[in-house]
Symmetry: C2
Subunit: 259 residues, 2 copies
């Protein structure tokens, strides 16, 4: 019996998604709540996007091999910085990681002089000059397939560095700048190094041509510093609607897409 969870969490006080001994992680918190309710000691979650320490999620998806549980019961056991939005039966063998067609992330930059009470730890507060048009030009250059090895730490388990970017854009609304990107998958730190490097282009400290050249498989040292984790959120995960035999499935997809 396979089930599917839709989750949101504030990453501020978590050491990331993945279980680590002695650390407070999202995986540990959610597995603990599920195990308690299901009285099942060896339940393990498979996740669509492993987020790093401090990174948030508005629409994280995971799967596990056991029956679905009422979200209200799970939320009553979970700490306030993680909540289950949906929990539904999934087709046999559904795997939240392997079956995901794409992930969508959003990186928020608060571009103003005064810090914010409301977006503290939920956006990257940035007070320097930024050329909005340069940000948009960078985003346009990202569409398509590129070799992103410049945007992930050199010490990596990856052997293939190409990723397919389905869509990328900066949305500007007053002093809140949001970088939205959808790709088949992402490597560690990839979005944060992309943002750090785009902010250099927008601040006239790097040329657009240099940014474009980085997309061709340059070494990590050629790109900029990693932007802080708290600006980043996993916004949504997309799955094929076909093959769905269970009613909850589509509702779950729509929930994620709404984020």
């Amino acid at each position: 019996m396979t089930s599917r969870l839709l989750l949101e969490y504030d990453g501020t006080r978590f050491a990331g998604w993945a279980r680590q001994p002695g650390q407070r992680t999202v995986q540990e918190a959610v597995e603990h709540a599920l195990r308690t309710i299901l009285r099942e000691d060896d339940l393990t979650l498979t996740v669509a996007g492993r987020t790093d320490a401090g990174v948030h999620a508005w629409g994280q998806v995971c799967s596990y091999e056991h029956e679905a549980v009422d979200p209200l019961r799970l939320n009553a056991l979970l700490p306030g910085d993680v909540a289950v939005l949906d929990c539904n039966p999934a087709p046999a063998g559904f795997d939240a990681r392997r079956d995901a067609l794409s992930r969508t992330y959003c990186y928020r930059v608060l571009h103003r002089r005064a810090r914010s009470v409301w977006l503290a730890q939920r956006a990257h507060w940035y007070g320097w000059e930024l050329d909005h048009e340069a940000l948009s030009a960078c985003a346009r250059a990202l569409a398509g397939t590129h070799d992103f090895r410049a945007f992930t730490p050199s010490e990596t388990h990856h052997t293939r560095f190409e990723r397919d970017v389905h869509a990328a854009e900066w949305r500007m609304d007053g002093d809140l700048l949001e970088f939205w990107i959808t790709a088949d998958s992402f490597m560690r730190h990839m979005n944060r190094v992309l943002v750090g490097t785009m902010l250099e282009v927008a601040g006239a400290r790097r040329s657009l041509e240099d940014f474009v050249a980085l997309l061709d498989g340059r070494p990590r040292a050629d790109a900029a510093a990693t932007a802080p984790p708290y600006g980043l959120a996993l916004a949504a995960v997309a799955y094929a609607a076909e093959g769905s035999t269970i009613e909850g499935w589509t509702a779950c997809d729509e929930g994620a897409a709404d984020q």
Copy 2:
């Protein structure tokens, strides 16, 4: 020399705006930061809207008799849950409370089954049935001048209970329902009792006619319970643009109106 401050704060951990011995209040925090920078021991803030414990502000305005200070210097001294957005010279004698033409408040209701990580303590989480059309009908009934004594505690210093509501509406965006109201001024708890009572109408536990009758000066006991404080935020305060002789003034007004 008169100055004007534009502030935002998260009311969760404050015992409200007004100074109280032994309590953590917004007034005490901001006055302490100003006194430290200005080396002035008897500086006192005059505020446009005295908010209760737990109530937030997106665009609070206050005035004081001393020179203006760089917001960055103030924010460096202030705790993370309060921030100064603007601090500008104001016309001599400007009084943030007396000169305010109107205050705008927003009460947010999160209408869904699962609790929210992002809006915890920033919206009233409400899981029961709600008739959106009934909420809108209540808001329409609010426009104009009414006797609001049913919506404030019986133990009160007020002698005049009429208030002029300039605008009131419910804005629905998915599961987030926002009640926006602008009036010349508000009495203690007035918005929260209004919301508590409108939720009863929307839940078919009270008729629209009954709600309308309450606007005619009925006793407090006839209205519903006070909705929780954390759904409420002082969104903006409006002042007359005329009489402005100083450049910062208009910028400040626009800042507040943008909230």
